[in-house]
Amino acid sequence: MIPNDFPKLQSLATRQSAVFPSHEKYLRKRFEATTPEGFAFAEKLAHTVEMLVGDGMDTHLADYRWLCEMVVDEEIAFRRTGEYRLSTFEQAEREVYADRVFMTRYMNGLLMSQLWWRNHTEVMGYYQSIYLGKLKSGFRHLEIGPGHGLFLGLAADAPGCATATGWDVSPASIAMTQHALGVLKPKKTVHLELVNMFSAPSGMFDSIVFSEVLEHLEKPAEALDAIMRLLAKDGLAFINAPVNSPAPDHLALFRAPEEIVDLVRTAGFEIVDTLFAPTSGTTLESARKRAMAISTAVIARKTT
């Protein structure tokens, strides 16, 4: 499944299969068409995940299994109704965000999904190789909702990064990102702040990352308006959200990648580039036909 040249990845996949035997076929499929470059990126990511997790790997592998089983329950509800189960932030707050134990397991599982869900790994590779490469030297960077800290760490390590900032509305999320950056030790110091994006001053950043946040909002268009306001002229935004991807706290349902692209365009952005990454083991065409999850990454420019 995974060549011996990538020992960390191979070892983690073996351990994950031991904790979650019925997932072995999925993991085999996830890596079956992976290029040598893809394996090299995943190997590096496996190393990073190991660093972040430290001696808590067994817990993370178990929490990943728990996450996958929970997603199946959400998938059942989604396929029966054609809608996400929750529609308001208040519901998500009550069922998910206010439950510290649930949130810890959820975030642990999501960190592992960066490796095991091909679309997640693909978006991260695209972000590093394409998005960060488009930023002009001296860029002032912001990530809203930096979560596991992997994207923010990469930006703060980019050679042209002048300043790096992370905003969240949750002290617990800020603490998690802080821990991750303390381990990753990027070249630039990252400023983590409790800030509500809707009440921050305008035009402060040349680069804004908004990854896997849009689908958690009741009114995603308003967030894109805010990002437009926060960017300086000619600034770039990296927007990443999934379509057809039920989860316990997903509110905004996008049924096709083009819905997300159109939403970004409608907010006034120029679309620079896009990536449509289907869920593991399927082609984009098949994922569209079967309404499966597709991660949709959009690089957009503020031109005015």
Partner: protein, 83 residues
């Protein structure tokens, strides 16, 4: 296999052919998820919900996630349909 079971199997085969469009093998009573690359846990949910809609029945979450092979599915559906 009874005519009733054969009819259920025919319906399952038709749905699976549409859903697992990269699989060109035969679907029979002994077919398992191991035989069909596209048949993973999420695709399984799609299959089961389509079967619910086709036969106007309801599966429990445990039934959706615990089936071993198509034959078991035929029996399960048969048990939920009027005799």
């Amino acid at each position: 296999m009874s005519a009733h079971q054969q009819k259920i199997l025919d319906e399952i085969q038709a749905l699976m052919t549409d859903l697992f469009d990269e699989y060109d093998g035969k679907v029979g009573m002994t077919t398992t998820a191991e035989d069909i690359e596209q048949w993973d846990s999420l695709a399984n949910v799609q299959l089961m919900v389509r079967l619910e809609q086709r036969f106007k029945i309801k599966f429990t979450a445990a039934e959706i996630t615990s089936l071993a092979h198509v034959g078991e599915l035929v029996t399960l559906i048969g048990g939920k349909l009027p005799a």
